[in-house]
Amino acid sequence: MSHEIISPDDSTRTTAGPQGGPAVFDSGDAPEQPGTQQKMKILVIEDDAQTRHYLCKGLREAGHVVDSAADGDDGLHQALESQHDLAVIDRMLPGKDGLTIIQSMRKAAITTPVLILSALGDVDDRVDGLRAGGDDYLVKPFAFAELNARIDALTRRRESELPATVLEVADLKMDLLKRHVSRSGQTIRLQPREFKLLEFLMRHEGQVVTRTMLLEGVWEYHFDPQTNVIDVHISRLRAKVDKDFQLPLIHTIRGAGYCLANEI
């Protein structure tokens, strides 16, 4: 049924790259895959020591350079003082709170993408966070895979901001103007929502896309489904896009989400 990829050991690596075959439990580096993160300079502002260490450690192990601050004032100072590729900021901080820091950054014309961390139960406040200038919102505690997927999406988004009219992955072609999808020349009929879903996956080619990201990006609502309703949509899409073809493109990344990519 679904092509389940057992991701290599370290789920702090975003490269949930397709490996095929049996699980590999070695500690070697995963091979570079298209769409993996480059080394980035990340600022982490988080007052809870354990969470901060967890974050910094994970990000460093993924190969990034990480600056950290334990309170709002120090955090804002660092944000204004040096350039970062990404900032991960907690909402509740001693000194200045997270949203104030973001607003100050934006006023100082700093366009660094910001991922806001918020406390359990505050998921309904994401609108406030995004309005303050944040780019994404994640509720603690989160799976590292989710964090990675979102960081990836945030930083990759900046590169490919050119409007495209045709998306292509391997032999799958999507014409955005004609709303036409084909694979190996064969037309695939999709319902409007399936089209949107496939488009989202294709725009995030090679990246891990979590279920929450799909809900926000394709259905544009933020909510917690009680059952895996997204999985059913994906399996429908797979039936149309992958089933009759030799090369599977839609992969399930265990513990994280999905990824549309060319298998190498």
Binding site: D10, T51, Y54, A143, W219, F223, D224, V229
Partner: protein, 462 residues
Amino acid sequence: MPPQRGTGLFRSATFRLVLIYVFLFSISVGVLLGFIYWSTAAYMEQQTDDTIRAEITGLAERYQMASLNGLVHSIDERLKRNPYGSTIYLLTDPSYRRVSGNLNGWPSVAANSEGWVEFPLEQIGVPNQQHRARARIFVLESGFHLLVGRDMYELRTTQNLIKRTLVTGVLITALLALGGGIMMTHSTVRRIEAINATSREIMRGDLTQRIPTRGTSDDFDQLAENLNNMLDQIQLLMEGVRHVSDNIAHDLKTPLTRLRNRLEDLSIKSSQHNEVLYEQAQQALLEADAMLTTFNALLRIARIEAGARRAAFSSVDLDKLVTAVVELYEPLAEDKGQQLQVTVEPVALVQGDRDLLFQALANLLDNAIKYSPAKALIGVTLRGDITGCSIEVRDSGPGIPAADRGRVLQRFVRLEDSRSTPGNGLGLSLVAAVAKLHGAEIELSDAAPGLAVRLDFPAARI
């Protein structure tokens, strides 16, 4: 039972009290004025009789001094002096032939034992006026008859005038009392209505309302102050209750977060060396996540109930929202062979939080799919009219017995039959909290078979 609306003037207890008072007061005034009239009339009658007696005494003296001729002379003299007076004299011989006086004939009415008589009188030249005379009659030694009396017309007219005046007085008093009573009732009714109106607002859910006081420290103000103190207490208690689960979740979320972080760390480390350990760590992570989902839901519900999200409301297009939820769950329903029947009418925009509304509707539809058997029919309708709009989700599953319908909206309530299905018992609590936040009524009913859940949104207030 819904709170009673303002009942207006006539059902007010105060007004009824006023009516009773007006009635009693009017009777008292009537009695008083009646007494005045009676005393006055009696006095006037007394006066008349005294006048008659005085005349008689005078005439008697004359008769004694100057016999019959003197009497006649006296009568003539008096009449000459006062031709238009009210005194009546009549002196007749034993055969009742007139000798002197201003009466032309002896009255045919019999006198009483003391010689008093009353008879009708007519003034010559003034027809159509019913006069009455009161007189005393005597029989003189010589057999002559003497009658001395008074024309009562003026007296009677005066008495009637007084009577009429007093009656009018009673009526005016009654009307004034009624008018004053209505004014006082109005003011009282208004103050009581202020208390009632505030109470209704409070019962509708706004516990911050307080009853207005006038600062006069009168009994209404004291009542208002006492009620306000009670409301302060209630508000404190309610917030305390809300805070309990909020506090528990709040206090436990940090240790739980750390637990999850460590488990994930463990999972990562063990994945390198030990598949069995990795598996177990993954399972433990799943359990931790399940706990966290429950805590997250609890905290969300607490925050929704606190009403903080109302500030972030925007205009929500319900028919787009319903269509999106249905479309999200359609494949899931299809997998179970269930049929989703959707009816969406165009409705006005609703002020609300679109994510919360989506979550509420998703919970309802998720429940419907989860609890309905395979091949069941599930109906989702959005209807609207001038009074507001409503969303209904109807399934053909086992339904919820009437006795449990109130309970299931509470936190953690799961009915016996569904304990084995996945879920934490907070789904409907969240729906109820979201409904309340939006001022919507939630109603659970029997879909015969199955459950129908309806959310009624009021029309937007302009």
